[in-house]
């Protein structure tokens, strides 16, 4: 019983490290070869986990070999375009200049129902609004709407807008993020003063505090603290 537990923990850690080394991608964004490797790794981990007769090393070697293959393929596909096309395939232009490309759909074995479904998932309900639709190698559909159907942007209205970068998270779950404070070239003293101005004595009472690029500090207190203050 304890051996199964130890084997499971070991294999889980190995699979987690392997997946982490494979890169940051969600399942839906995996290329076909990556998906195959991910499924195989999961399966390889389960077999020696259940069967104690199978040496653990068998699973470990298979998983390491798959990781090596995946990393090698990724390196090769970064270096050679032809290799990338062989491995990932090519994207298909399903709608070009507002016209559905039937030959391309047949080639991709992609039917109209799938096209309409993916358009709806892209919040496009009227086929007439689509200028271009590209079926990506991951299976996602990228849609370019006709200029008349696109949402209005400040640029269309010739409005001047200021720079907006990523807000910095200064406090997360009561903990001061010193690294973020350094990025903003601010100290903890400044943060405490700002919190005191808002009636907060201890950063530990704060659920989240962010600083926008315009210098606005947003603070939300923890629910327990808010309840106490009511």
């Amino acid at each position: 019983m304890l051996i199964t537990l130890a084997r499971t923990l070991f294999l889980y850690t190995l699979v987690m490290v392997t997946m982490r080394l494979m890169g940051k991608r969600q399942i839906a964004q995996l290329e076909p070869f990556e998906l195959v490797i991910a499924i195989m790794i999961a399966e390889l981990a389960v077999i020696p986990m259940q069967d104690r007769d199978i040496p653990l090393i068998n699973g470990v070697i298979a998983i390491i070999t798959l990781l090596f293959v995946q990393v090698s393929f990724s390196v090769l596909s970064l270096k050679f375009l032809w290799f990338r096309s062989v491995l990932d395939g090519r994207y298909s232009v399903i709608i070009a200049n507002g016209v559905i490309q039937e030959a391309e759909m047949r080639k991709a074995r992609y039917n109209l129902d799938e096209l309409l479904e993916q358009l709806r998932l892209n919040s496009v309900f009227n086929l007439e609004d689509v200028e271009f639709a590209v079926l990506e190698t991951s299976g996602d559909l990228s849609v370019l709407l006709k200029s008349q159907a696109r949402p209005v942007t400040p640029k269309d209205l010739q409005l001047e807008t200021g720079y907006e970068g990523l807000p910095l998270v200064l406090i997360l779950d009561g903990k001061v993020m010193h690294g973020e404070l350094e990025k903003a070239q601010l100290g903890e003293g400044w943060l405490r003063t700002e919190l005191e101005k808002r009636g907060v004595k201890d950063p530990g009472e704060v659920l989240i505090a962010t600083l926008s690029t315009t210098g606005r500090l947003f603070v939300q207190l923890k629910e327990a603290v808010r309840r106490q203050r009511r």
Partner: protein, 126 residues
């Protein structure tokens, strides 16, 4: 690229380790086979105490090999040989010629299978 280099090194180590293990298995099974032949001769000549002594020695050596091979080879295959060795010793103690020879053949076949399973060949890959 750094990750690839590390992975490549790990793969080289795995291949080298695999080849070393394969070589060790071939050499050791050859050695055990020779010991089995000697035991067989002793049984045929009714030299029961000699046969038992040889079998004892072989059993001790096998325990050592088994400990080393255990993490790499299917446990069931190793256990089968251990069981047959134990049975062989009992038949030698009781001077049961028929059963002792049968057990010796059994161990020989198991060893041959182990050898064939661990060798890198197209047949095994497929």
């Amino acid at each position: 690229m750094k990750l690839w280099a590390v992975m490549f090194l790990v793969m080289v180590l795995i291949v080298a380790g695999g080849l070393y293990l394969e070589n060790t298995i071939l050499k050791t099974t050859d050695q055990i086979s020779r010991s089995l032949n000697t035991i067989q001769e002793a049984v045929r000549n009714d030299q029961w105490s000699d046969a038992l002594e040889l079998a004892d020695r072989l059993d001790k050596s096998w325990s050592r090999y088994k400990t080393v091979w255990d993490p790499f080879i299917h446990n069931h295959d190793l256990e089968t040989i251990t069981i047959h060795l134990a049975r062989l010793k009992t038949f030698l103690e009781t001077a049961d010629r028929g059963h002792a020879l049968a057990e010796l053949t059994n161990i020989e076949i198991q060893l041959l299978q182990l050898r064939q399973q661990e060798v890198l060949s197209l047949q095994n890959v497929l």
